[in-house]
């Protein structure tokens, strides 16, 4: 118990082609579980996870988007409020890797300029079906000056590390605020806020 307060709220966003495992990555992080059945995300969903970094309780509200083209007008409207964006591809799906540049363009177009970006090559447990070498992922990440991890939601590889690293990067450039100075409304589009509880 006693996980009832938080000092900061970070809004993260997961994007990438349909079927690369965005929802599974999030599900592994939030619930430490994995499900093999593929259910396409309808539009936009989110999960909450509170982590502790540098002595601060940070509530992560992580938005999970549908990768399917037909939902793009809905999902792109959620880019604006994100402080961190995870761009996910599937190392066994070359097309999902080729589309990274398209997703990066989407970020440029719809997200805040100072948004923290991160590239994830998911499904790294399936090395026998790999078509995207790790080096290619590292290279494109380097070119765009963003962090890169190969992850596996199924085998629980680098998932927590990726989220915590992204949160740390955001925390690093977050101006230090007096905690408990503002109200938090996680349903609105605000940025970093302190927490003055209605409850705890």
């Amino acid at each position: 118990m006693a996980k009832k307060t938080y000092d900061l709220l970070f809004k993260l966003l997961l994007i990438g082609d349909s079927g690369v495992g965005k929802t599974c990555v999030l599900f592994r992080f939030s619930d430490d579980a994995f499900n093999t059945t593929f259910i396409s995300t309808i539009g936009i969903d989110f999960k909450i996870k509170t982590v502790e970094l540098q002595g601060k309780k940070i509530k992560l509200q992580i938005w999970d988007t549908a990768g399917q083209e037909r939902f793009h007008t809905i999902t792109t409207s959620y880019y604006r409020g994100a402080m961190g964006i995870m761009l996910v591809y599937d190392i066994t799906n070359g097309k999902s890797f080729e589309n990274i540049s398209k997703w990066l363009r989407n970020i440029d177009e719809h997200a805040n300029e100072d948004v923290e970006r991160m590239l994830l090559g998911n499904k790294c447990d399936m090395d026998d079906k790999r078509v995207v070498p790790k080096g290619k992922g590292e290279q494109i990440a380097r070119e765009h000056g963003i962090r890169f991890f190969e992850t596996s939601a199924k085998a629980n590889i680098n998932i927590e590390k990726a989220f915590l690293t992204l949160a740390e990067d955001i925390l690093r450039k977050t101006p230090v605020k007096e905690p408990n100075s503002e109200n938090v409304d996680i349903s609105s589009g605000g940025g970093v806020t302190g927490w003055k509880s209605k409850c705890c």
Binding site: K4, I42, F46, C200
Partner: protein, 206 residues
């Protein structure tokens, strides 16, 4: 319209009768090349019976020429008839198809490049607009966020962090203080969570 089958039947009958005479009794439009040959054979025999008079020979020459012309006309006519019959049959099929499968066929014709056909009998057909989906998702996510807040709040009450009649303004700090001290009383409080929530609400409103 029913001529072709009839003609075929008659042809068969003619042959059964071994009919040069039958050929002459036919309607001109039903005449075939076979009939013309039958007639030629018959006339040749009759001319031969007339003997070798030079006038007969002259007549024979003209008759042969006329029969050749008739043969050419009959061949041409039957070819034309065959073509027309094929065209008629294909047109019939087309009419049939248009009558039975009319709606989708004409629908496709009217479609622009960015249009989609929706099967109105499909129970799983698209029905809702993007805006409707957007609204529903927004509401869902708002409610989910509220639920999480309520769940968190509930946890606080369950753990006894917040005394039931706590003043809402200073709850956090006091809650933290009473965290350890109120553990002993948390068991009995456990039973009246709902009650406490109502107390909290009424306290908030006053």
């Amino acid at each position: 319209m029913e001529e072709p089958p009839l003609r075929e039947e008659e042809e068969e009958e003619d042959r059964d009768e071994g009919g040069p005479e039958g050929a002459l009794g036919k309607s001109p439009s039903q005449l075939t090349a076979e009939d013309v040959y039958d007639i030629s054979y018959m006339m040749g025999r009759e001319l031969m019976a007339l003997g070798s008079d030079p006038r007969v020979t002259q007549l024979q020459f003209k008759i042969v020429r006329i029969l050749e012309m008739l043969e050419a006309l009959v061949n041409e006519g039957s070819l034309e008839a065959e073509e027309l019959r094929m065209e008629r049959d294909s047109l019939r099929k087309e009419v049939q198809a248009l009558r039975t499968g009319d709606p989708p066929a004409s629908g496709e014709v009217n479609l622009g490049p960015d249009k989609m056909v929706v099967d109105l009998t499909d129970p799983n057909r698209p029905r809702f607009t993007l805006q409707e989906l957007r609204d529903v998702l927004q509401e869902r996510n708002k409610l989910k966020a509220q639920l999480l807040v309520v769940q968190e709040e509930l946890q606080c009450y369950k753990s006894g962090l917040i005394p039931p009649r706590e003043d809402p303004g200073g709850r956090r700090e006091k809650g933290a203080l009473v965290d350890r001290t109120s553990n002993a009383s948390s068991n009995k409080e456990e039973k009246t969570i709902i009650k406490k929530l109502f107390f909290f609400r009424s306290g908030k409103q006053t």
